[in-house]
């Protein structure tokens, strides 16, 4: 059975039209073959980060941050956004968690909803539909590249006016013309390769590097898979500035295990959404690869999910969800549907954009909790998913015992105990 839901897609580019209208030739200064010659953008290459694990990188001027803010403000003043997001009222909902609500009537268009297929997390790229090669170049802020592993410790490289090399598969940062907050941008890895919306190791690493480079815990990156409320099937991450903690960042966590490459995986506790928290790792790539492995597993099993990269890249949340499926099967109450909140990564993290004044005025922690609890996988289902993920990462149960013996014999200050998932809570064992 093909599962579909009807939604009004968010407009992220001024060049995004109805799916049904086909754009003919160009003159729109886009990124396709027609216009890309002569395109120039600032290029920011981040430093080889593997070398700076554990070092305090003190950049006196937050360079990437200045670039993002400066370019965004420039587009803001040029009127490229569909509305002024700073004129949208916002507040912290009283309560333990401090959910953040925003009244944004302009974000959601009063258009005819489009059909989205929600039963498949992996869908092939469709060049006929809107994708990021069709954005106008003025919506692009800069190119963002990772440094080569082969390079020496080069440091940040910046070129204010670099031609876009179509053959070199550039990754770009663009504005989201329907911003949730100030500074809302899209990171589009290898934009001309037209990758579908799915996680791959290289792209997640790029996103993680951007979070690290921005060096601001209030600048988070997010990802929505298809079926978890991504609207465009062209690989992209989102990011914006909000200078306070997200509720999900306040939730406690229970360590489940640590992988071979030092990545700590924990379960979220006392939060309406069940999810995994990844931290640590012997290197940034280890952290990123582990999350990628888990994501690929979810993709292959058609489980929609969201990813939140938080704390300047030190924490990554992986949140599987089932809301779209429930909607398609008619299992969601009309009360919740009427709020028209699509729980993408930001909503899952506790930042709710509400389109109706009554929902904003009446926003409460209880309601937010209720909504997110609907979105979350059930306890049972989550445990199943955990097992799948742990297998995919290479942490099956019988391996664990062998490793445990190895660990006990090496006294390197701090025994790390593995928890056999899904049954938890064994006694603590000291070193």
């Amino acid at each position: 059975m093909l599962l579909k839901i009807k939604r009004v897609p968010t407009v992220v580019s001024n060049y995004q039209k109805d799916e049904t209208v086909e754009e003919g030739g160009c003159g729109r200064n886009c990124l396709s073959k027609c216009c890309i010659n002569g395109a120039r953008l600032p290029l920011y290459t981040c430093k080889n980060l593997d070398k700076s694990i554990g070092e305090k990188s003190e950049s006196p001027v937050m360079f990437l941050e200045s670039l993002v803010l400066g370019e965004w403000e420039d587009r803001f003043q040029r009127g490229l956004f569909r509305y002024d997001v700073t004129s949208c009222e916002t507040k912290v909902i009283p309560g333990k968690y401090g959910f953040i609500a925003q009244l944004n009537e302009g974000r959601h268009l009063k258009k005819r909803p489009t059909e989205f297929r929600v039963d498949k997390v992996l869908q092939p790229f469709d060049g006929n539909k809107f994708n990021f090669t069709k954005v106008g170049q003025e919506e692009l802020l800069f190119q963002f590249e990772a440094s080569n592993d082969d390079d020496d410790d080069k440091g940040i490289q910046f070129f204010p006016n670099m031609p876009l090399d179509a053959d070199n598969s550039p990754s770009v940062v663009a504005i989201n013309v329907s911003p949730i907050e100030y500074g809302h941008v899209l990171l589009i890895p290898r934009v001309l390769d037209c990758l579908p919306q799915m996680i791959d190791h290289k792209s997640l690493l790029l996103a993680l590097q951007m979070a690290i480079e921005a060096a601001n815990p209030y600048f988070r990156l997010g990802y929505n898979s298809l079926g978890a409320f991504a609207t465009i099937n062209h690989l992209h991450f989102q990011a914006y500035y909000l200078a306070m903690q997200f509720p999900i960042e306040k939730a406690s966590s229970l360590k489940m295990t640590t992988t071979n490459n030092g990545v700590k995986i924990s379960n979220l506790l006392n939060y309406p959404v069940r999810g995994l928290l990844f931290e640590g790792g012997n290197s940034i790539k280890d952290l990123s690869d582990t999350v990628s492995d888990a994501s690929v597993c979810l993709q292959n099993n058609s489980i929609p999910f969201n990813i939140l990269i938080s704390d300047s890249g030190k924490q990554i949340f992986l949140l599987p969800q089932c809301y779209a499926e429930k909607q398609a099967l008619g299992e969601v109450s009309s009360k919740l549907l009427d709020t028209q909140v699509n729980p993408a990564v930001w909503e899952m993290s506790g930042h709710m954009v509400l389109k109706r004044k009554e929902d904003y005025e009446g926003a409460s922690e209880e309601k937010a909790w209720k909504l997110l609890a609907e979105v979350s996988l059930s306890e049972e289902r989550f445990k199943e998913v955990n097992t799948l993920i742990f297998e995919a990462i290479g942490l099956s149960s019988h391996e664990e015992e062998e490793e445990e013996l190895e660990e006990q014999s090496s006294m390197n200050g701090g025994f790390i105990r593995r928890v056999h998932c899904p049954s938890v809570k064994e006694e603590a064992v000291s070193n």
Binding site: T86, Y218, K250
Partner: protein, 397 residues
Amino acid sequence: MSLTESSKSVFTEEEEKEESFNALWIKEALDELPHNFTITDPFISGHPIVFASLGFLKMTGYSKEEVIGKNGKFFQGPKTNRRSIMEIREAIREERSIQVSLLNYRKSGSPFWMLFHMSPVFGKNDGKVIHFVAVQVPISRREHHRKLRNVSGDLSDHFGSCRREVCFGNFVHQDRALPLECDDDDDDDEQGLEDWEHCEASESEKLKAVEAINNVLSILKRYIELSGRLVCGKRYCLRGADCLSSSLVISLGRIKQSFVLTNPCLPDMPIVYASDAFLTLTGYKRQEVLGQNCRFLSGVDTDFSVLYEMKECILKGQSCTVQILNYSNRKDKSTFWNLLHISPVRNASGKTAYFVGVQVEASCRNTESKELRPETKQLSVVGAVRVAVRSSFMVTC
């Protein structure tokens, strides 16, 4: 000398003399306390420590000179729990107290667990936060070991416990305490503790923290009562009316370029915030510019049609960039060409709360090929101010 021992004075000579006397008194009183604590000033860029007790210096192994001026982050390190760091940052932002276990690092590099208890200090007249006080009570492992050996049953009520797995968020988890295994004996020093992910303090340690905070706060309050001044003698905002919240000031303090915030809702649109870089550029003291309209920067040869243009933009609530001749108060009383960008800034209510003015001295516009364009840099200040003001939910117009 004030607590900050700054050479720059913001008061008249007479006020200064009175100030130093009071400061001496309070320093002596604070030095007499046996506790480990620090006092920070959110109104100085970087939210630095302005006072550190002798006990604190002893505990961390630093000298006073090495500590004054540093932010609390200075004592954190790779094993310090990220969650706890975030909690502290949020407590500062929300101007409230917090008590959390924290792993800190001594000068020698060795880590140690302590119970960190922080509280805001409110000014007398306007009830605004003017300082934060932080007390540090070292958590003793030895104490736990000894006691655990002798007691059975549920220990969580009386003794601390160390949990490796549970990482605490803001809310204490209601789990049973997992007692430490005690094959080690008292010879064992604090060494193993830092590998624990969380270390809960004992009830007695928590009580110590509360007692210490109260002692420090009562001295500070007495000082504020007597002198009516800020403890450190520096004023960062207007007296009384519309003083910016400490958290907004902390956010703005991270922006290193020259800029001011003016309040269009107050008569004559006065400056309510001026960055350090602005003061350096213009040669004025903070005291001299706060509460003033920006026109003091204009002079005889300033183009009045440009000023008129700016005024029009402000009335219309629009941004504009102008090049304007300004008169500095620097030693040479020189004039300079100011590439000034002004823009309205909204707060969380969605309404305009301030205007931001970002100054770039025209001669400094180097077009180095590897740097951000000066226009981008200037606009990035506007962006950073927008983020700070919007997220500072306590600011009202």
